[in-house]
Each structure stands twice: as structure tokens, then as C-alpha cells.
């Protein structure tokens, strides 16, 4: 079974840098994820949104990579948000307590609205 390596596109919405994630978030994803996050930081927004719509697999190594991004966001006083997670990965974000530190939204629209009002 071929690994679907992660690709990421970074775009700017009002007040939010959005990372469109496509593929698998696993050990292979580290370079792409960190490079995209750095590109998002360069947009100089206070909020960065991880859009998981194109992601169908996250393993424990991927969880660790997301923890790393969250640590970077906290260190630079940015908010990290997530949207379009499947029901299963919402559960995993809950049991790992990631959702205590990064708000999870059902879709991009609600996440961007939240980012614009706070």
C-alpha cells in the first residue's frame, strides 16, 4: 500500500493563515508540515488554521508533529486552530487533550469567523 505523502498549500484569509493539508500525517510528513508552518508564520497573522479536509490518516507520530506545531504557536503567542477533522480524529484530539489547547471547528467557515471575532 503506497503511502500518501503529505502535501500542504498555504493561503491567507482575513486574519488567518490556512494550511490545506492533503495526504497522511505520519513520520514522512515532518518536513512538509514544518516548512508549511514556517511559511504560514511568515504571513504574520495571529491565527493559523490547520485544515484537515484532505487528510485520511493520522498516526501517533503525526500527533507528535501536531504537538510540535502547537508548541511553536504557543511560544510565539499565536493561536492554532483545526477544522474538517473526521469524527474519529475529533475523538483522538479529545482523548489526547489536543482540543484543550487548539479549538476544533467542523468547517473552515466557522473557524475563520471565530478567528475574526477574537
Amino acid at each position: 500500500m503506497a503511502v500518501r505523502h503529505l502535501s500542504v498549500e498555504v493561503r491567507l484569509e482575513p486574519g488567518v493563515a490556512v494550511l490545506d493539508l492533503m495526504g497522511e500525517i505520519n513520520g514522512f510528513a515532518e518536513e512538509a508540515l514544518n516548512a508549511a508552518y514556517a511559511e504560514a508564520e511568515a504571513k504574520e497573522t495571529n491565527t493559523i488554521l490547520l485544515n484537515f479536509e484532505g487528510v485520511d490518516y493520522i498516526n501517533s507520530t503525526g500527533i507528535a508533529l501536531i504537538v510540535g506545531l502547537l508548541a511553536r504557536a504557543r511560544a510565539s503567542h499565536r493561536r492554532l486552530l483545526a477544522c474538517n477533522l473526521s469524527e474519529h480524529y475529533v475523538e483522538i484530539f479529545n482523548i489526547t487533550r489536543l482540543s484543550d489547547f487548539m479549538s476544533v471547528f467542523p468547517d473552515e467557515e466557522s473557524a475563520v469567523v471565530e478567528a475574526s471575532v477574537s
Partner: protein, 158 residues
Amino acid sequence: MTDRKPARTDADLRQTLAEFSVPSEPGNERLAMETVAEAVRDLDIRGENLERLKTAVAEATMNAMEHGNKYRSEVPVEVQVEVVDRDLMVRITDSGSGPPPAQAGDVPDLEAKLEGMQTARGWGLFLIKSMVDEMSITGDDGHHTIELVVHLGAEGGK
């Protein structure tokens, strides 16, 4: 005189659904995960319960490939899928030596990880324990086996 039916034995209640192996190569946990999902397709494991099982199998296979077999591709991870009575049992065996990994599976301290006081990794066993009804790890001089149990039926899965 009436014929007496023989008592049912464990063998009567045991059904092997799949036995296979995967090379210890990064990414092959998905192959194990999808093969187990296919093996249980006729069981009453659907939706979120199936997703939980798949995550547990993937994480257990990753642990076996990484910690047991040190990602030596020529050393396979063996997977056995059985139904025993009303339990689905998935056993994942590596060729690791030494004592089996601790199975305490404490809840990882996310705050400590975010503050850089702990490695960001270390989620695997915790996820496995969270995804299935029972988990145990056994081992001898040349193997470790992690056994995942899902209770079938209306209450099956977590």
C-alpha cells in the same frame, strides 16, 4: 436412551479470520490496518468502532516494527485475527528481545510536551489502550505479542 451432545470446547468457539505478516517498513502499519479491516467486514464492527480498531492495529504494528524489529524489513510482523466466543482478538507479534514494553500506558502529559520537558512522541500505547476494550502484552526471549480485544455485539468497542 438419548444421544448426548458433546460439550462445546474452546476449539468450537474459535474462528481464525486471518493470519498474515507485513515487512517492517515505515508505512506498512496501514497495510496491516486495512487487512484486518477487510478480515472483520462480516462482523458487527462498523463506523466509529471500526475506526478505533484500525487505529489500535496501526499503532500496535508501528510499535512492533519500530521497537521490536528495529525497522529491519526482512523481519516481519505477524498478525493473527480471531473470533473467540464473543470477542474479536488481534495478536501482533514482533521479534524483539528483552522484556516486553511496559503496558501501563499512562496518560501522556501534554503540558509537559508543549513546554519541551518531554518528547512530543509517546502516544502509541495510550492510543491503543483507548481504542480497544482490552490490551495485553506478553513476551519471551525472542518475541513480543500485543493482544487487542474488542467485545462484539451491541456493546462492542469503546
